[in-house]
């Protein structure tokens, strides 16, 4: 068992390498297929020193064959060199890492919210199939799945910040205050509520509906009847026997939706002026800071690959029935 799991992990790791390679090749192709000089894609629309442009041309070996150029690019990415932003006069990787914390805080909170509330709604719904709660959940899930996150964000801001004045509309911290200690965290928390709500909705909807159907499936199985026949308390049957089995597909789908989570985060950050990678992306588009756009794409693509790998491994550990290929 242990040895087989180990082999499976190695097998999945080996699958990751061509994917990472593929992502870098795609990025490389985009740089080269973009209209105009590929150097423009790497420098952006910002005046760069002539020496740098010359060095970049040599680095890229634009007079050399495409495979040689690809090799150069691969080496640069492998060394963590995602280019240089002349608009900000700093390496791209540093700029992205600086913003990553804010994005992870927002996305992580939304993710947690979607997991806890979505699964809870799904369970309630499955226990009272075709009841009022069930119908309400179904309708809410459908709405949550169809509403564009950035519009939802704007509506929440209109209602709770502009209209009622309950929560701050913009940013991550109050600019005029110098909070310390607990107040500091409470301040961030207050700023976090609306963007996290907006971002979580779509995933909450997916989780609720998925939990509902997989719970209904699990509760209809024979081992549930057996558990009940043994006289186990109903709560234990539902949570220990039903939910444990029903959660597997939820875990998978949540892991596989990480790309959508980052995309949603970029949109929500833009609405709320949240100082994360998404807002950086938005600002870089308007300043035509292409190196940052390329860098963010590579980082998100790698994050998605890693998230998929972790999901598969989590699944392998959680589900003893899995066949290790």
């Amino acid at each position: 068992m242990e040895a087989r799991l180990g082999r499976y992990i190695l097998y999945r790791l080996a699958q990751v390498i061509p994917l990472v390679f593929g992502v870098i090749v795609v990025t490389f192709l985009i740089i080269h297929l973009a209209p105009g000089d590929p150097v423009l894609a790497l420098v952006g629309n910002f005046p760069a020193p002539e020496e740098y442009v010359t060095r970049l041309r040599q680095d890229l070996g634009l007079d050399k064959s495409l495979p040689v150029q690809l090799l150069h690019y691969l080496r640069k990415v492998a060394q963590g060199d995602l280019g240089y932003s002349f608009a900000q006069r700093r390496p791209v990787l540093n700029i992205i890492f600086e913003r990553m914390g804010a994005t992870l805080l927002l996305a992580g909170t939304a993710w947690l919210l979607a997991a806890v509330l979505g699964v809870a709604m799904g369970i309630l719904s499955s226990l009272r199939q075709y009841s009022l709660v069930d119908h309400a959940t179904t309708v809410a899930a459908l709405i949550g799945f169809s509403v564009p996150v950035f519009w939802l964000g704007q509506l929440l801001m209109l209602i709770f910040s502009v209209g009622l004045g309950w929560l701050p509309p913009q940013g991550m911290q109050s600019i005029r205050e110098e909070y310390t200690g607990l107040r500091y965290y409470l301040d961030i928390g207050a700023h976090l509520i609306l963007p996290a709500l907006a971002l979580s909705t779509r995933f909450l909807a997916i989780n609720a509906r998925l939990t509902r159907s997989s719970m209904l499936d699990a509760l209809g199985r024979e081992f549930i009847t057996t558990a009940r026949a043994k006289g186990l308390p109903e709560l234990r049957v539902i949570l220990h026997h039903g939910l444990r089995n029903a959660l597997l597909p939820v875990v998978t789908v949540m892991g596989l939706n990480v790309g959508f989570l980052f995309a949603g985060s970029a949109l929500v950050e833009t609405v709320f002026g949240w100082p994360g990678v998404g807002r950086l992306l938005f600002d870089s588009i308007s300043t035509r800071d292409y190196p940052i756009l390329l860098g963010i794409f590579v980082v998100v693509a790698l994050a998605v690959i890693i998230a998929n790998l972790l999901t598969d491994l989590a699944y392998a550990v959680l589900d003893p029935r899995i066949r290790y290929k």
């Binding site: 459908l142 509506l155 693509a301």
Partner: protein
């Protein structure tokens, strides 16, 4: 179907409807839809099943309504959506039902014309990605072997690429334009369809009618497109209608990031424009966003309804 894993980014999940109707003799017959009378009968059966669901009919109604708006936009829109026709920031009232924006443009006209962009991009992008997905999936599933392995690796690569970020990057570098937007969305959206069609083909190619065709010496392309494909169509139609919803959302996201076609009024672009004026004009974000929401909801309801009607064995509980 709507919430199935086919909406996911990557590889190891089976696409939602992959078992669709595999053992349903009513749908799976040689040559698919058969004679005209049989087609009529099938359509009646389909409609009876479809119209049983109120939400499906509602979805169809919403889609029909917005399609109609698109077709008659020039007559229904009171003004040119780009023309400065009045004072800025007039709140909704009898003269301007949805108000005017920061430049004094009519919001109602913008919403009407925005429907055109969303629906056109949604239909064209989904149609193109469906075409790519069907071709890749059909070849992969029918031929199997090395071809299948190679095509599936390619599909996996396209599935891990974060769609939204790649689309942004391409449009930012290549410059905005509605044709490019359709192309980018289509080229990034076909993998789930390819996996779905492949799964259908894997099960269908073992069936007797395919074996019979092969024994009769029918050419492979004919078997793929005339014998097997019609039987896979129900799943393709369902997935395609849900793809339209996703394409509309993606286009709105791109436009919201300021990368829409600058010559056209789109819902996402209007929301982008409204960002700076939330405090002054609540109507500026509210109505274009409502347009996106209702259209996407309509296509999702329609897709679910089609799924229940075309693949009755898969009815979600």
């Amino acid at each position: 179907m709507l919430f199935s894993t086919r909406a996911s980014v990557t590889s190891d999940t089976p696409p939602g409807g992959q078992l669709a109707g595999a053992e349903d003799p009513g749908i799976h017959e040689k040559g698919g839809w058969g004679t005209d009378r049989a087609v009529g009968r099938r359509l009646r059966v389909f409609w009876r099943r479809f119209s049983r669901s109120r939400s499906a009919v509602l979805g169809l109604g919403v889609v029909f309504f917005f399609t109609l708006v698109t077709l008659v936009a020039t007559w229904v829109a009171p003004h040119d959506p780009t023309a400065l026709i009045a004072q800025p920031f007039i709140s909704p009232g009898p003269r301007y039902p949805l108000g005017t924006d920061n430049l004094g443009r009519d919001v109602l006209s913008g919403v009407v014309y925005g429907a055109r962009v969303s629906l056109a991009v949604g239909f064209l992008a989904a149609a193109t990605s469906t075409l790519i997905g069907v071709i890749v999936g059909a070849i992969s599933g029918y031929l199997g072997g090395v071809t299948d392995a190679l095509l599936m690796r390619l599909t996996e690569l396209f599935q891990v690429l974060p769609r939204f970020f790649l689309a942004l990057l391409v449009v930012a570098l290549a410059g905005p334009g509605i044709g490019k937007i359709v192309f980018v969305i289509a080229i990034l959206s076909w993998p789930p369809m390819a996996r779905l069609v492949r799964a259908e083909f894997l099960s269908l190619r073992e069936r007797e009618f395919v074996e019979a065709a092969r024994a009769l010496g029918v050419a492979t392309p004919t078997i793929i497109f005339r014998d097997i494909l019609p039987n896979a169509l129900p799943s393709v139609i369902v997935a395609g209608s849900l793809d339209i919803a996703q394409a509309i959302l993606l286009e709105a996201g791109l436009s919201f990031f300021g990368l829409g076609d600058p010559n056209l009024t789109s819902w996402g672009g209007m929301l982008n424009n409204a960002l700076a004026f939330l405090r002054t004009a609540w109507w500026m974000p509210t109505f274009p966003g409502l347009g996106i929401f209702l259209t996407v909801l309509g296509f999702n309801l329609l897709g679910d309804g089609l799924n229940d009607a075309l693949n009755p064995r898969l009815r979600s509980r």
